[in-house]
Symmetry: C2
Subunit: 592 residues, 2 copies
């Protein structure tokens, strides 16, 4: 069973985004719609055959730590090996790095199948690819050959080591120290000492080696660590050193999670003996900026995971609603008649349509963002590249947060449709819900995304990116307004855009902390973005009268539902933000 | 540690509801504020000493079924024994049944401590008291003595057996059959055959006997079961018969739940051999009406459980936010300064205040409803009794659904405040969240509550109950309008009330299915009710200038937050309902 409908993927990639046009650019000249489709079919099949089957088992049997060795379910190792063998680690890398040179949008669409099939197993390649991307972008030739290429072949996994027990969201406070230790062919060498917390895939037996990318600070002449984020540097710290000896990296403990259990999550101690050997990646003090390349990719993939789980819950509850007989709809109440499938109940339809609107809205948001990376690469000039880059920066916190919040809301509906059965472990939806609950937390919490969006991407950016988004939305509103069946929806979207714009104007003008209500703004802004993407897709499908009737009607309905039933929820949120409400921000601590 | 602040309980019972005035009525003449407080202190201590300690263990070690015998954690049996020994099963029963004759509002406040401490252990006395209440109300003297009195002493537990595998929400479709088998001193005797699903406490080793209240149909002369709910009758089916032999009731399986794990949840087979012996309770065909006395009580207690879990999550995350150092608030960004407790961050304050508003709003809603039962009992005339009864009927679906929905939202914030730690099983909040997810499902799903509210309690009732609520709200709005600091909030509440009233008028006038959007109406109506109760409490505390400053400010803030940040969310929901939006209801099935 496919949790992500291939008809949707084809609609998004070709009918809506026109991603096949990328092949007109030299960077993608070796590719065609056929090569895209081949990889997508491969991904769909591999996800179903090798990732989905151990979904529940990997929840029941968690990774173990014994005598310093972490073991995961053997099925996970086998799935990753099959993924590597199929060449999927290499999908989005350039041919000069052994990659297939596929566009990011195709890579993301392929990954959607894996995320939906088994989100915690899929986290291994997701983190590894992100890690290799940073290495290929910022590493020396020797560093790339030694560390990145084995990752791109899927022989070695990668991690990102940012947080510490005392420094979760506040990376300025990392205390891991890196002391210079000479230089060799892999670059300036250091000895690292410190503890890193929440390291997904921090240790395991999936592959013999693991490449850790570690944030640390280099002490000054007095041995003190520089305060703030400016002093943070990035280091490549392999589990096994190039000479085959074990590096000084120890697993101090595993975190036992509510869900997302297949992948180990570790507390790692660096330097319990002589200091872990690490090579500097990029310049000293540039660590956070470099790491954010991986972090931004990871944020989009967190959103993809949440979207995949939303799609999965939708699929499960749709199948259940079609099979389960219970009661009779309002139009046929005669109790002497047999019971009817619950899909006939208006409230079940509502919960299904909401899931469709959330899941497909979230997936299309992620593909739109991935496509922005590709469009930036093939853009004709610097102005267009800057515009696309700004748009991606603005949308990244939404790509991370919106699917995490509303994918979970979709999963909540999926459980509810199953009734009591949905609350049992005999069905998948309760695990889907538990797995998805991680997504608003890792790779930057919801609150962090809110501050990033409103503080960095809107206010500090002086509205440049926001204006780029506004132009896109205006175009969609204009297109939809020309279609009578969509004109009402266009008008509603336009109103919400105006409200967002007005709200931002208020926030720019005040002296008070503009970020006090950043979280409600984030939710409302996400609804605006997803409403826009839905309407943009509705314009396409409306004009494509040759498309399958049921498919077309489903898209138009989901758009209409989102804009009529969901988008208006942004209004009171924006009014709250614009009113500079301080009920919470000025609450005295002793009154809680 | 107390999860439900005794200061709040005292404020609600005495300052707000004036429940001590009940002692002026002969029914409660033996009681006083002192006897109320004694039972509340006892409950608080027993909950902390005997219910809270095995909270996590009862999640880790689920009930087992071996050779037909269900075993629960020994600590659960010991906790229930202590609860029985303290006389708490008897709290709300009349002295002639061995009870303490306490008002329901005091009983509910006492139970709040147990629900918050360990919701699944507390479900045993909750179900048993509800079962005994039905028996004492509808049973014969012999039935009461044989079945109810051991429950009131806590020597025997009780269940409610409604659902069947093919009949969950649709009780008209129950297929358990009851064939007449003579009559004895316990009344008309029957033999029952059928399967009952989702039976909480359906079997266990907490007490030797269990009294099942079972819905079944009596076949007609042709052996056919009458269709619909009219043919449903209620039977008393003990696990062990009065002569000490085992009845023909078998545990066919245990359900393995996402949370709420301490209490067994069973599939029971009645009559695998000769038919289970059961005595009819009340008249034939009156089964559902009688059962609804227990169901209505259970619905309020489900809301209490959800509210208790919300209060618990709030307490945990408040403690965590005061202890955890991370980052620096917007007003003190110097990274050379030490990190600050996260309670200083505006977004954390927001999530704490939302939890306070939800948890205390939910608890006060439940106590208001419990007090309505007591007020009905002491009411001076039939008109007042009818008014209070209508109000309780209208509020019961809200008491069930609102805490279930927003208690869960509160727990979501509690996890988020803990960051990654909240997602681990080292902390309690992930379990609190999993436990709470049952509450929108059992004892009538959210969708069932929505149809009950809008269909039965508003439209079919011709607005009589709604008018009673409107008069109460109008009084509160008038009182609050007279206080300048609350006048703005009063005006907002008045607007939402008007919007509800207008929406109902639209729904009454249409031919279309008025229930298609019953669920969004339910959520919005719940916000209206809780906003009203918050404002009603704000008037009291505002005028009580002698009360503790921090406590008073906390209440006024939580009210303000709820009315300014939460209540406006009802507006777009009500507009959707009033627009008779049919995007979901008319969605073609093949377009999902």
């Amino acid at each position: 069973m496919s949790f992500v409908d291939p008809r949707n993927v084809a609609f998004w990639l070709y009918d809506w985004l026109g991603a096949d046009a990328l092949t007109g650019h030299p960077a993608y000249a070796d590719h065609s719609r056929e090569t895209f489709d081949a990889i997508l079919e491969l991904a769909e099949k591999l996800a179903a055959d090798r990732f989905a089957p151990h979904y529940k088992k990997s929840d029941r049997i968690e990774p173990t730590l014994e005598n310093g060795v972490v073991r995961v379910l053997p099925e996970i190792r086998e799935a990753i090996a099959a993924y590597a063998e199929a060449g999927l680690f290499a999908a989005s890398f350039a041919p000069e790095h052994g990659g297939l040179g596929l566009p990011h949008v195709v890579d993301a669409a392929a990954m959607a199948h894996f995320m939906a099939a088994n989100v915690s197993t899929a986290a291994f390649p997701m983190l590894t690819a992100g890690n290799a991307r940073v290495l290929t972008k910022f590493g020396s030739k020797a560093q790339i050959e030694t560390f990145a290429l084995p990752e791109i072949e899927g022989r070695t996994m990668g991690t990102m080591c940012l947080s510490e027990p005392q420094a979760g969201s506040s990376l300025a406070d990392v205390m891991t120290r890196a002391v210079p230790d000479g230089e060799d062919e892999l670059g300036p060498r250091y000895r690292l000492t410190g503890n890193k917390m929440w390291i997904s895939g921090g240790d395991h037996d999936v592959t013999p080696n693991i490449i850790h990318l570690v944030l640390a600070k280099i002490p000054d002449a007095d041995g003190k660590l520089p305060p703030g984020t400016g002093g943070i540097t990035l280091f490549i710290v392999p589990k096994v050193l190039p000479d085959g000896t074990r590096n000084d990296v120890t697993v101090a403990g595993l975190n036992h999670k509510m869900g997302y259990r297949g992948i180990s999550n570790c507390l790692l101690n660096f330097g319990e003996r002589d200091g872990a050997v690490g090579w500097r990646l990029g310049e000293a003090g540039h660590g956070l900026a470099i790491m954010f390349h991986m972090m931004n990719e990871a944020r989009i993939f967190v959103g993809l995971g949440a979207a995949g789980l939303a799609a999965r819950g939708y699929r499960h509850s749709l199948d259940y609603a079609r099979d389960r007989l219970q009661g009779r709809p309002a139009s046929a109440k005669d109790p002497a008649q047999p019971q009817r499938p619950i899909i006939q109940h208006a409230d079940v339809k509502r919960m299904l349509l909401a899931q469709k609107a959330f899941a497909e809205g979230a997936l299309s948001l992620i593909l739109f963002c991935a496509h922005l990376i590709d469009r930036e690469k093939v853009a004709g000039d610097e102005i267009e590249r800057a515009r696309l880059s700004n748009l991606l920066g603005l949308l990244t916190p939404i790509a991370k947060s919106w699917p995490s919040e509303f994918g979970l809301a979709a999963n909540d509906h999926a459980i509810q449709i199953h009734g009591g059965y949905g609350y049992t472990r005999d069905f998948d939806v309760e695990q889907v819900y538990r797995d998805n609950r991680l997504n608003p937390i890792h790779e930057g919490t919801h609150g962090i995304q809110a501050m990033d969006l409103l503080g960095r991407k809107i206010i500090r950016d002086k509205g440049v990116s926001l204006a780029a988004l506004g132009a896109e939305i205006a175009q969609t509103v204009a297109d939809a307004s020309a279609i009578p069946a969509l004109a009402g929806q266009a008008s509603r979207l336009g109103e919400v855009w105006q409200k967002v714009d007005d709200t931002v104007a208020v926030l720019r003008a005040v002296n008070a902390d503009p970020l006090a209500n950043a979280s409600p703004f984030l939710s409302a802004f996400g609804h605006l973005v997803v409403g826009w993407l839905w309407l943009d897709q509705a314009v396409i499908i409306f004009n494509d009268t040759a498309s399958d009737r049921a498919f077309r009607e489903g898209k138009l309905r989901a758009c209409r539902y989102f804009i009529e039933a969901e988008l208006p929820k942004a209004i009171p949120q924006l009014e709250l933000v614009a009113s500079l409400n301080d009920a919470a921000a000025t609450m005295p601590e002793d009154s809680f």
